[in-house]
């Protein structure tokens, strides 16, 4: 069987796919790739089905060895790839001969690389997905040096003929994030609702797949009650009693006890996966359906 050997797993490399649906009854959220568009593109470039599992590589600085001939594609974050110490292109299918080594540098732009391997990472699914949920602690363990990931035979399409997909380098400047109103918007009143959109929010160091904390003005409440826990989704923006918002990530708790002021749209949630701590974001209201 073909496999990918981990030489250096970097800071945090996780097996991810499109995530779980319908596991909320067990108290388990969606999980899956944080930048779903980047993962989908990587899978498409190597002819994989949409639900194939690949790798989410935080910050880069990783090295792998092909055990068997493999086709791979790297998307998401930006940096100079190397195959056997020769430069290689991101966002296109790359052939790795058996014994070849793939190196991803520490990322220059963005935060997370996605690596798809033709055939997909073939580890046993849990609740219908091979994703590692860092909150529920289910799915394959974070990768360690020496791990050999079995590669499946689930690819259905030939490698598409594309030279290079035009992809924007993740932006280092202020990012516009689209939201729609949340269920408890009324708890904050019009003044805080305006403040929410006017402010420049700085992404905190205390951010991960579970949630992205943002620093800015305090969002006070006009309604001073305790909220009974209610359902949460990726992208929900919870405001804790001290007035600090947290954007829930894909490994969010299924229920939470803080009011949700707004909810990030799916495309903007993908963009947030590439926003670095210290970077500035601004919210705007999504229009249309």
């Amino acid at each position: 069987m073909k496999a990918l050997r981990v030489i250096n797993p970097g800071a945090l490399t996780l097996v991810q796919d499109r995530g779980r649906s319908g596991a909320t009854a067990f108290g388990v959220g969606r999980s899956g790739a944080m930048d779903r568009a980047a993962m989908a593109l990587a899978n498409r470039l190597v002819g994989n089905p949409k639900d194939a599992a690949g790798l989410e590589i935080l910050l880069g600085g990783v090295e792998f060895e092909a055990l068997g001939d493999l086709w791979i594609a790297v998307t998401g974050s930006w940096g100079l790839l190397k195959v056997d110490d020769l430069p290689a292109e991101p966002n296109t299918a790359i052939r790795l001969n058996a014994g070849s080594r793939l190196k991803l540098p520490v990322t220059e732009h963005g935060l997370r690389f996605y690596l798809a391997i033709r055939g997909g990472v073939d580890l046993p699914p849990i609740l219908g997905s091979r994703s590692r949920d860092t909150l529920a602690m289910i799915g394959p363990d974070p990768l360690r040096a020496g791990d050999e990931l079995p590669i499946g035979i689930s690819s259905i399409d030939p490698i598409p003929v594309v030279d290079l997909v035009p992809v924007n380098i993740p932006d280092a400047g202020t990012r516009q994030i689209e939201v729609r109103p949340g269920p408890r918007r009324g708890w904050f009143g019009p003044e805080n609702w305006s403040k929410f959109f006017e402010a420049e929010w700085v992404v905190s160091q205390r951010s991960d797949r579970r949630g992205i904390r943002i620093d800015g003005p305090i969002l006070g409440r006009v309604k001073d009650e305790e909220l009974l826990s209610e359902g949460m989704l990726p992208g929900a923006i919870q405001v804790s009693p001290d007035g600090v918002p947290t954007i829930l990530g894909v490994d969010h708790p299924v229920t939470g006890g803080y009011p949700v002021i707004a909810v990030v749209t799916d495309p903007s949630l993908d963009a947030l996966a590439q926003v670095r701590p210290g970077q500035v974001i601004k919210f705007r209201l999504a229009t249309g359906r």
């Binding site: 108290g27 609740l127 949340g182 269920p183 359902g231 299924v254 909810v263």
Partner: protein, 202 residues
Amino acid sequence: MKIMPYGDRAVLAEFEDLESTIAAYASMEDSKPSGVLGLVPAARTVLVSVDPERIGLRALVDWINSLEVGTAAYADSKEVTIPIRYDGADLEEVAKILDRSTDSLIDWHLKTDWVCAFIGFAPGFAYLAGGGLSVPRLETSRPEVPRGSVALAGEFCGIYPRNSPGGWRIIGTTEAELWDGELESPALITPRTRVKFEAVSR
């Protein structure tokens, strides 16, 4: 019932009390159209999320408004018996709060037909309803509550599936395995499961 917006792919339905929430969740679960991906019941709300390519939010709201609530039987046929030792650090304090002896508190806990209303807080953490008594949370949460602790808060009884911080009042301990991430169905108790406690001696 009140329906509130929740982004692109969900709405939050809010109800008067736990009973009507549970009843609505049961009828949703029993009649959900394809395209409804997830239901997250909680104490007063059900979060309903959809695949927007298969069902629009307007159709979703119409469906929720058309539900005949109260007809579906809530508790399902699955019953789980949880062995318990009543050795919790807060047992006596809880008895005092409820103005009972510890024996009568234990008797109430054993005789209650508990049913899982929803899962929240942590994977496999079941909120069991049906006791009819209410206990406030601890003023200050404990940084670590051991796995298997059986505890009370608000109108619910819960069991910690793993070591975690927590503010519920601990009345006992169980050896039951509530969560096994290796299993295809990892949670022992899921919404609508009936639960009975059985006292074991140390």
